[in-house]
């Protein structure tokens, strides 16, 4: 894998975690870090994304309906540009995701933000998902087909 692809995969993996966190949870994790200077490249903005499904689940795409999405972009003083996109209308969350995305790309802060922000939030997400999966598993059922007796 090229370096570019590796970094892209890292950014995407971080975004996949951050999109599931609350703005307050991300802010609380960032608060303890000595962050580099940064500025809004694009102020948070709310809009819509048309969500698509596929005919039969795996066929040709169709438009299912829209979702609200918030987005923002942040630039570090060292030049890295980060983007934040999230379902919903929480502009502050989009800005925090953008900041994290910029930090993930930074040589000086990439490791720190992964350890102090992304990893703990990922852990928290996994706990929530496991819990939901366990509750779901308890409702798994075996249906028996009653065979009609011969006598």
């Amino acid at each position: 894998m090229t370096q570019h692809n590796t970094q892209q995969a890292q950014r995407k993996a971080a975004m996949a975690v951050l999109a599931h966190a609350e703005a307050g949870e991300i802010a609380a994790r960032l608060r303890d870090l000595a962050l580099p200077a940064h500025q809004d490249l694009r102020a948070p903005e709310n809009g819509l994304v048309m969500l698509r499904g596929r005919v039969g689940g795996d066929g040709a795409p169709f438009n299912l309906g829209e979702a609200t999405v918030s987005r923002a972009a942040v630039r570090l003083a060292s030049g890295e540009v980060g983007f934040g996109y999230t379902l919903g209308r929480d502009g502050e969350k989009a800005r925090l995701i953008a900041l994290c995305d910029a930090l993930v790309q930074s040589r000086d802060f990439g490791g720190l933000v992964e350890r102090s922000v992304i990893a703990p939030l990922r852990e928290q997400l996994m706990v929530r998902r496991t819990r939901a999966a366990e509750e779901t598993a308890a409702t798994k059922v075996d249906f028996y087909t009653m065979v009609r007796g011969e006598g």
Partner: protein, 367 residues
């Protein structure tokens, strides 16, 4: 025809004030919060998101509160709101096969990989009112069992491998995906447009249409191949970022209906399909949608289309409850000018009728 009228500003203002008061109800009773609506009336929120065609739980809850629980009014509010926001683009198609399943049942196959999972369902409840819910009810913690890591493939994909069931139609190269919110509806409409229309269509209308096919008006012999509900991840190819960005997850319900088979001289017989997909936990909606989707494929499958549910112009033109309520409810707005001219015509006709039918004696007396 509706003709604009003037006047009544004060009365209208006061009527809205009264509405706001009525909406709040008895002020000694606690005000309902958006969180309470979203958490405790979750299926109403799901319906408003589906038919409002906008995934946003908080907005749907606000709309329900503002509409005093009138869900069609709430759907109307959500539709109006969506028109105020710019569209950033289109998501990658969601992968329902990778859904984190919370419920998944098949009425056709008992043993499916990943198993049958009831999840949170009204099925098998006794439908008896429960007085203990009236106040202060604290539910037991959910039971837990070891979480399965086994994949839960779509049942139609498993059956599809043997060729027993028709495969989903592939997108044609370079074909654009139709969008009802951007282009006016024309007939005949392709399946992408039909599914978009049904996905935002009124649940009650689709339920009745689906039911009509079961009762013999365009029968298509349906089985529930699978219903699944759970979370799917959404990705959006953001041009500024340069790759598909994860946006988070949404809840979806999917229904795969497996229907009567067809074959021909050149094709071996196989089951046909109808498809339903909607926001949130919307089982009745997706089942109805799948029945109607299948019925609307009559032309494509060479069936005689004689029933209402098989008539795409009829179904698609009447499925939208915002359009429907707009046209029905506009009847209560002032039609005075229109009605005056009708009244004038009617008076004239009645006079002519009276003259034509007057007894001769009266005519003579009059002369």
């Amino acid at each position: 025809m509706y003709v604009a009228v003037k006047g009544g500003e004060r009365a209208i203002e006061n009527a809205h004030r009264l509405l706001a008061h009525k909406r709040r109800g008895d002020q000694s009773v606690a005000e309902v919060t958006l969180d309470q609506i979203s958490e405790q009336l979750g299926l109403a929120v799901d319906r408003v998101m589906s038919e409002g065609s906008l995934y946003d739980r908080e907005l749907a809850a606000l709309a329900i509160k503002q509409a005093r629980g009138d869900l069609i009014e709430a759907i109307f509010l959500v539709r109006a709101f969506r028109a105020t926001l710019p569209r950033f683009g289109t998501s990658e198609p969601v992968d329902t096969g990778a859904m984190r399943v919370r419920r998944r049942v098949s009425a056709t196959f008992k043993d499916i990989p990943g198993g049958q999972i009831l999840g949170p369902t009204f099925d098998y409840t006794h439908r008896l009112l429960d007085p203990s819910l009236a106040e202060g009810f604290v539910p037991e913690a959910p039971a837990v069992a070891e979480a399965s890591t086994a994949p839960t493939p779509r049942v139609t994909d498993i059956l599809g491998r043997d060729g027993l069931i028709e495969s989903s139609p592939e997108a044609e190269d370079g074909a654009s995906v139709g969008d009802l919110t951007r282009e006016p509806l024309n007939f005949p409409a392709d399946r992408d447009l039909r599914l978009q229309n049904l996905a935002r269509g009124d649940e009650g209308f689709l339920l009745a249409m689906g039911y009509s096919t079961q009762r013999g008006y365009g029968r298509n012999h349906p089985f529930v191949g699978e219903i699944r509900f759970g979370e799917v991840e959404v990705e959006f190819l953001a041009e500024d970022v340069g790759f598909a960005v994860p946006l988070g997850a949404i809840e979806l319900t999917e229904c795969q209906m497996v229907n009567q088979f067809k074959g021909s001289a050149t094709e071996a017989p196989c089951f046909t399909r109808g498809y339903g997909l909607a926001f949130g936990q919307s089982e009745r909606k997706t089942m109805s949608m799948a029945l109607v989707d299948r019925a609307l494929r009559a032309r494509e499958l060479g069936e005689e289309a004689l029933a209402p549910a098989q008539d795409e112009e009829f179904v698609m033109s009447h499925s939208d409850n915002v359009q429907a309520t707009g046209f029905v409810e506009h009847l209560k707005l002032p039609h005075y000018v229109d009605f005056q001219s009708e009244l004038g015509l009617l008076r004239k006709l009645r006079q002519e009728f009276a003259e034509a039918n007057a007894p001769d004696a009266m005519k003579e007396a009059a002369e």
